[in-house]
Amino acid sequence: MSGLELLSDQGFRLDGRRPRELRKIECKMGVFQQANGSAYIEQGNTKALATVYGPHEVTGNRSKIEHDKVLINCQYSMATFSTGERRSRSTGDRKSQEMQLHLKKTFEAAILTQLYPRSQIDIYVQILQADGGNYSACVNAATLAIIDAGIPMKDFVCASTAGFVSDTPIADISYLEESQGGPELVVALLPKSDQIVEFQVNSRLHLDNFEKVLDMAIKGCKDVHAVLTRVVKDHVGQLASKMSKT
């Protein structure tokens, strides 16, 4: 095949990863003081920031109040400089709207919503630099921010992507790999119960290969989970040591 060879004969992807490897993940919780919870994540060159406000009274339209559970309000935005070519605005375009909806559904499925009837939780995520896997970076950052805010959830929500190139599933695809037009599978998982809370496939993928790709994506989510767990533990440990000092 001509063009970019996404997977070399030696089994390396363009950035030097092997098919099953994720990009380097680094994250930090509690980056802001004013918000109830906040977190920052880097997955390779994709960088996302999440803040959580609430639970608080429902703002704006009172008709949105839900009587048996909390209202989850999401906003997804991308910094104007986050993409290769500058964007003219950060929110409100169709893609952001769609992403917002996906995020809302994802967290409605994970947060113990029945604990806070008639109130609202705001989850704001912003992509600072985009290099593929924007949705998963947002979900992972938001999970950390929610944990930072102390809002109870069923489990972590961990998201990852997988693609399919030359008969091989590849984990955590980068923007370059995304843009080649192959199938992309996005999964958000509750890792302990193996429940999939959000799931999306772009472009065609044959059923025979579907299993393999899904497995790869789920494996990716579990790897993300391992990293997130460690970060949460570290963060809590630091908080505890700070508290014991004061």
């Binding site: 095949m1 001509s2 063009g3 070399s8 004969d9 030696q10 390396f12 363009l14 950035d15 030097g16 990863r17 092997r18 490897e21 994720l22 990009r23 380097k24 993940i25 390779g44 060159n45 290769g84 070519e85 290099d131 030359s166 008969d167 980068s174 370059l176 080649q180 037009g181 192959g182 199938p183 472009s203 065609r204 993928l205 044959h206 025979d208 290969n209 790897d223 391992a226």
Partner: protein, 962 residues
């Protein structure tokens, strides 16, 4: 999990967008050497103790070539003696970037387990990756990367104790070599290395004759400038930047150079968009360009314009050392300023070389000994090439292949190297090989890698296969093909349904099941594009196992098929169309003749025969419907040679019979193709691979209209239907062949049908003119056409059988594929015709025959005569060179007359056919008039078995010399 130890960001600025990519460096890339005990590798490529006899490197070693060596010396690397080679990722990528053919060849080497070529992913390796420094050129950086890898390898292997293989860096760049030596790397030029290989002295012949050392080139240029060097024959070429600047300023023009066939000192340059070609005279003005090179020219001032000398001049020089002058170049170019002067130009630079490998012969040396020789290409437009060989003796009288490496300013001829010996001149295999090479038909045996993707035998149909496929084994399917066909790609059936309708099925070999997109097998097939049929040989697109066995729908065997099923009424109206992957078992593989006999034999009423009868009935209705819509029935002569089973020489010729069954099969194939085309266009609006036949512009019909008019018929060309009807009406009672001949002429007015990607052409241009179909594609011959294979893949996706892959959706890539397919198809056609021509020549080699012929064209000095029995046309010259013709030419009519004899178009003549034997490389058939008798011109009717003597001394000549 994450194995990367660290990563560096690579910033690439394309345009103004800053692109940042991650680049992970790893510590788990192994060295691939069996001598290494440190790397945790499971398998090795490089041998523990590689042995190759070299008087320079008399120790075990691996070679590590740099980019230029790989790029220019693939011929060397492909030699069996070269083994244990480390190919760096950097080198591989750079080669891919600069030359795809070279890249493909080295891909072949790395996958060949005998060659022991190891690809080392140095750019992902923690210890061999280096960043480009500020101010460093890309070339310097690459060289440094290569040296870094070489150093790493040496040090890495040394850790395993004594006597481990050493690394030998091969680079022709002197600066790089010196730096390498300073860094303690063993480095040689390829020339030094190859010369040191004591086991294979002839390998030197295959070295590309570039300047031995890349830096020498600079030295030569330097010498030229300072006047110290040898004679400089040619002016310097401008560099690309200067050329581009000049073109933008209108000072130069860009065009394709074409050398004259008649005079090697003359040539033309055609500029895209300009009708008139520019004339070039003199070797110095041509300035080292070869036909088909893309060049930049400067138009000379009007005072220097000149015209072709009308001299036939062949480069008679045979002395390879003749490099001191361009002999009389100026003399013959002395300008003739007169009214006939043409726009004349000179070459100022080369934009793109279009050199390939050339077939030809070695010139007999003017003196014995010496290793420099001149090679004379078969193609007259190509200059002689100077090569160095020590085996000249054995190459004389053989057809050989030579490739051009360079054309230095101080060399009269381009410099090249010997590639391959094809065999003795006149030998049929040799000539076939020449024919294939000259038409750029890839015909090498399939490589090991390609074959590795074939299914393992014995091949059986498994339960899984049956689960995903429709089982159609119970249907009475049969195939109908020409006799001796082993690559059967289509089969048919027809059965009555309970509701009174008929179910018709076309079953096509499921080749896409065996060829996965993107693997070596697929790439090979894609490159070949089509199976090429020569008179006595078939050059397969896919390996034999597939073409003649697994994919071939042989009688009585269970095979995978891609089926199209229609429910039709008895009036051939389609009720429903279904597509499915299936398993079938053909009841019988019939020939057209057998099928016809079965249909005609009233006593037979078995399932297959009944189904054939139904099919034939439906086909007739379909055909009528098509013709009513304006589909054309065109004609082109097709003949078959009966080949002697032992000598493989043609012993007899017969015209191909067209039976009802031929057109029956054809009709359903057309229907299947059309149905599939509609289906895939729905799913691949932008990238469906379709076939169109553009409506020819009216001006193209001129020749046919004029010809028809000369016999009082009027061709209507407003649309296909009108044309078809007017052709039907053109019948002459006394000349039964007239209609066929006219159709032949009309066929020649047509443009070629082409493959295209649906996204590249507006929908109204999808039209297939010849078939009068708004949309068409090729689906029915996947064994022998790659286009059909692609269409199969699209259809498989369209019916949800398999998944899409990015290339299928990419209109541009599809168009690239189409471009290659169109080229290959054209070349395959030409090769086929050349093969018929070759066999015709062999057939007439020792014969003189008299046959009926018909005049197809009338020219100023000749008649173009078509011989129906042999299906070829030849030129009957009416005038010898330098003599006055006894014929009067009337351009209007058109006619040629002498006395009371008048030749008009479509007139029947009797001609004598014999072989001209003067030119070994290009044999020609000679036609001479027998009847009507023209005194002083025609030859007497001689018995068919005339003697050789007469042949050599044709009567015509005698008569004329009186």
């Amino acid at each position: 999990m994450l194995k990367s130890k660290s990563f560096v960001k690579k910033t690439r600025k394309g345009g103004v967008i800053k692109i940042v990519r991650e680049h992970y460096l790893r510590d788990d890339i192994w060295c691939g050497s069996e001598a290494c005990s440190q790397c945790k590798q499971d398998s090795f490529v490089l041998e523990k103790a590689p042995s190759v006899a070299s008087d320079k490197c008399n120790f075990p070693h691996y070679i590590l070539p740099d980019t230029n060596v790989v790029l220019h010396q693939v011929d060397i690397l492909e030699d069996e003696i070269i083994k244990n080679c480390i190919l760096l990722q950097t080198v591989q990528q750079e080669v891919k970037h600069r030359s795809l053919p070279a890249y493909k060849r080295i891909q072949g080497l790395t996958t060949n387990s005998d060659k022991k070529f190891y690809v080392f992913s140095n750019e992902y390796h923690k210890e061999t990756f280096i960043e480009r420094l500020g101010g460093e050129t890309a070339n310097d950086y690459n060289d440094r990367v290569i040296r870094k890898a070489a150093t790493w390898y040496s040090q890495h292997l040394e850790k395993n104790g004594e006597n481990v293989p050493k690394i030998v860096l091969l680079t022709n760049d002197r600066a790089n070599r010196e730096k390498a030596k300073n860094e303690g790397i063993i480095a040689y030029t390829v020339h030094e290395y190859v010369q040191s290989l004591t086991d294979k002295p002839y390998l030197v012949d295959r070295l590309a004759q570039l300047a031995k050392d890349e830096n020498d080139k600079e030295k030569v240029d330097q010498d030229i400038k300072t006047g110290k060097g040898r004679n400089v024959l040619y002016p310097e070429h401008l560099n690309l930047a200067a050329i581009q600047k000049g073109i933008k300023e209108g000072k130069y023009k860009q065009g394709t150079f074409l050398s004259s066939r008649e005079n090697f000192r003359e040539g033309y340059v055609s500029i895209p968009g300009e009708e008139k070609m520019y004339f070039i005279k003199g070797l110095a003005n041509q300035n080292r360009v070869v036909s088909n090179d893309t060049v930049a020219i400067e138009v000379l001032p009007k005072s220097k314009w000149t015209c072709p000398s009308s001299l036939v001049e062949v480069d008679e020089n045979v002395d390879p050392e003749a490099e001191n002058s361009l002999e009389n170049d100026e003399e013959t170019t002395s300008s003739v300023v007169n009214s006939s002067a043409q726009p004349t130009c000179r070459v100022v630079g080369v934009i793109k070389r279009n050199w390939r490998q050339y077939c030809g012969t070695l010139e007999p040396p003017s003196m014995k000994g010496g290793s420099r020789h001149l090679f004379k290409p078969a193609e007259k437009r190509i200059p002689k090439i100077r090569i160095e060989t020590r085996q000249a003796e054995s190459l004389l009288g053989h057809r050989i292949i030579v490739t051009i490496d360079s054309w230095p300013r101080n060399s009269r001829y381009p410099v090249g190297h010997f590639v391959k010996n094809l065999g003795k001149i006149g030998d049929k295999d040799t000539e076939n090989e020449v024919l294939l090479l000259e038409h750029d038909v890839p015909h090498a045996t399939f490589s090991e890698t390609v074959l590795s993707f074939l299914p393992k035998m014995p091949w059986v149909i498994t339960e899984e296969d049956l689960k995903v496929r429709t089982d159609l084994r119970w249907l009475d399917i049969c195939s109908v093909d020409p006799p001796g066909c082993t690559d059967i790609d289509d089969a048919l059936h027809c059965r009555s349904l309970d509701n009174g309708n008929l179910e018709v099925g076309v079953h096509i070999a499921d080749v896409s099941h065996f060829i996965q997109p993107g693997n070596a097998l697929d790439e090979e097939a894609s490159n070949r594009g089509t199976t090429v049929y020569l008179t006595d040989k078939r050059i397969d697109m896919v390996p034999d196992l597939l073409s003649s066995n697994l994919c071939s729908l042989r009688g009585g065997e269970e095979r995978f098929a891609f089926s199209v099923l229609w429910e039709m009424t008895k009036n051939a109206e389609i009720i429903e169309t279904k597509f499915m992957k299936s398993v079938i078992r053909s009841r019988a593989a019939l020939t057209y003749e057998e099928a016809q006999l079965r249909i005609d034999d009233k006593s037979q009423s078995d399932a297959v025969t009944t189904s054939l009868r139904n099919l034939l009935a439906l086909a007739k209705i379909l055909k009528k419907g098509r013709l009513d819509k304006g589909a054309l029935v065109l004609a082109s002569p097709e003949i078959r040679f009966n080949i002697d089973s032992e000598t493989h020489d043609p012993i007899d010729v017969q015209e191909k019979m067209i039976r009802e069954t031929n057109s029956m099969v054809e009709e359903f194939m057309l229907l299947a193709n059309t149905s599939v085309a509609k289906k895939i266009l729905k799913d691949f609006t932008k990238s469906a691979l379709l076939r169109r036949h553009p409506v020819p512009p009216p001006s193209q019909y001129e020749m046919a209209i004029k010809a028809a008019l000369s016999r009082g018929f009027k061709l209507e060309i407003d649309n296909g239907l009108a044309l078809s009807q007017s052709l039907d009406k053109a019948v002459m009672e006394d000349n039964p062949l007239f209609n066929t001949l006219l159709r032949m002429l009309t066929t020649r007015c047509m443009t070629q049908a082409v493959y295209f990607s649906s996204g590249t052409v507006p929908e109204e241009d999808f039209f297939h003119f010849g078939l009068a179909s708004p949309i068409y594609t090729h689906f029915t011959s996947p064994i022998r056409r790659y286009a059909d294979l692609m269409v199969h893949r699209m259809l498989a996706v369209a019916i949800g059988y398999s998944e899409v892959y990015p290339e299928l959706l990419n209109s541009e890539k599809m168009q690239d594929i189409c471009k290659n397919l169109n080229y290959r198809h054209k070349m395959a056609q030409y090769a086929g015709r050349s093969s018929v021509e070759l066999h015709t020549h062999i057939f007439f080699r020792d014969k003189v025959t008299i046959e009926d012929g018909y005049i197809l064209f009338i020219r100023k000095n000749a008649l173009q005569v078509f011989i129906p029995k042999y299906g070829f046309e030849g030129t009957l010259y009416l005038k010898e060179k330098g003599k006055d013709s006894i014929f009067t030419y009337n351009e209007q009519e058109p006619s040629q007359s002498a006395g009371h004899i008048k030749f008009r178009l479509f007139d029947k003549v009797l001609v004598q056919i014999s072989t001209e034997t003067t030119n070994l490389q290009h044999q020609r058939l000679r036609l001479q008039l027998v009847q009507p008798e023209v005194p002083g011109f025609s030859v007497p009717r001689t018995p068919a078995s005339s003697s050789r003597k007469e042949d050599e001394e044709p009567p015509a000549k005698k008569l004329k010399q009186k």
